[in-house]
Symmetry: none
Subunit: 257 residues, 2 copies
DNA sequence: ACAATTTCGAACATAAATTATCAAAATTGG
DNA sequence: CCAATTTTGATAATTTATGTTCGAAATTGT
């Protein structure tokens, strides 16, 4: 039943570019609480944006999200994931940090930590952040992507092959029902695969919203990562499936705090 | 509901380039206090600028990065030099933009221009700026320098050799009495020389303050540049000397304005 | 420079929306 | 059909948004 509701909500928001909790609750004959849960779900999937009293279309278009602003979205989850990831890093590691806001959060924590590591990254913001903090950073060369400020392409691949890493921390734009990771961009997907080849261990950082959707380009399957660090809570059925595919899920929120 | 209000306010300000607290309060059926709170919020986000009794469009669309702040020092001179440099660029050029604030000013102007050029740069800020403006940008890979946010080193040299440029715009930290250019860093000096080798024409951008001091590492002599764009006013004796050494000085401030 | 006027922002009060929590209802899998 | 899980609804506690008042600060006119 809730599937219908979600569809309806999306439709309404798309048409009117805004919908209030109250009206949706009346239209759909459910309580406001249920609508809020739906909106929060859709928001976490990036399908719309939440605001006090309702929801509106995601304003992702062109809106100049400064990097630090962008980090604010789902900041708690991302930080939780990043904190967990940080616990896998030791002084002396040679790291590859992929592009993306969750990995960006990890970079921030890395700055504040006293860890002595060498970092290679393909994202301009991350390179800048870490360099300012005095860490040893190498920027991957290549074609700069307008939207994300990351580099990719043939030149990047060639450049990256000169390195080897003890650990890589990667993002992905989505994860489908068969537990494969995806990126919307072929060059980026390839670069991620390459980084995985060059790393002794690699970890996927994925917030709950990344699950169960897919993008154009396949990266790899979840069991290729040494660990998948996520804040998503899995049902028993899901956990069983994941175990069958020998995927190593590392919950972001637990013990270490 | 305040989300809608913010949208409306932005729209009004964009259209009329100014909106008063009073009128907005009347239009939107809320108290003046609420409008003030909204305006202050939008102002803190840099989406508009506050003024007594209302708000107006932000004066510069350029964002408040630490970078563009840095450009403020000697901003007029740098912009004058950059504007002159811009006049040498045509659509179709393949450019190398060196690191440094004066070249950074050129990058800003390049963003605002409608020129269709391909750019390779070794500075993170410049890469980001140009990419956001939708230009075709390639970032040079390599070790990131903590202070400047530029890359250099062996990996950068190797990377750069893959390219050829129609024009290069370079900075220098100082110029001595014998009209040689200098950099405080060996790797950077080498990278600049390399960029010059790979470019059909190269221009030095140097504000008046750069003259008559020296740094550790020699780059090259002034006559190796196709042109030296500067705001410095030379004496007749100096001009004679420069002419003897066949240095092509291009005054930043003149005619074209 | 001074006073009159307007605008501003802090503090409080109130209303609305949200979250957290728990129990009831619906759904699912055997 | 029953037990286990998930979804939903109701309530209280919390957070957020808005309006009002009033003294301080800015602007204007003289």
């Amino acid at each position: 039943m809730q599937d219908m509701r979600l569809q309806h909500i999306i439709a309404v928001v798309k048409e009117k570019s805004y919908a209030s909790v109250e009206k949706l609750a009346a239209q759909l004959n459910v309580s406001a609480m249920t609508i809020r849960r739906d909106l929060n779900l859709l928001c976490s999937q990036g399908r719309l944006e939440r605001c006090y009293g309702g929801a509106r279309l995601p304003s992702s278009i062109v809106r100049e999200t400064a990097y630090s602003e962008k980090l604010q979205v789902h900041r708690e989850q991302k930080l939780l994931i990043a904190r967990k990831a940080l616990s896998f890093i030791q002084s002396g590691d040679s790291l590859y940090l992929d592009s993306g806001t969750t990995v960006g959060a990890l970079a921030q924590l890395l700055c504040e930590s006293q860890l002595d590591v060498s970092v290679v990254t393909n994202e301009l913001n991350i390179a800048q952040l870490l360099a300012q903090a005095g860490l040893s950073v190498t920027m991957v060369g290549g074609t700069v992507n307008q939207a994300t400020g990351s580099v990719s392409g043939h030149a990047s691949e060639q450049f990256l092959r000169q390195f080897r890493f003890s650990k890589a921390f990667l993002g992905a734009s989505s994860i489908d029902y068969s537990f494969n990771t995806f990126s919307p961009n072929f060059d980026k997907a390839y670069l991620k695969r390459l980084a995985m080849e060059l790393s002794a261990q690699c970890y996927l950082l994925a917030d709950a919203g990344k699950f169960y959707s897919s993008a154009m380009c396949l990266i790899t399957s979840l069991n290729q990562y040494a660990g998948v660090i996520t804040d998503k809570e899995f049902s028993k059925a899901e956990l069983k499936q994941l175990q069958e595919k020998s995927v190593n899920i590392i919950p972001a929120a637990d013990a270490s705090l």
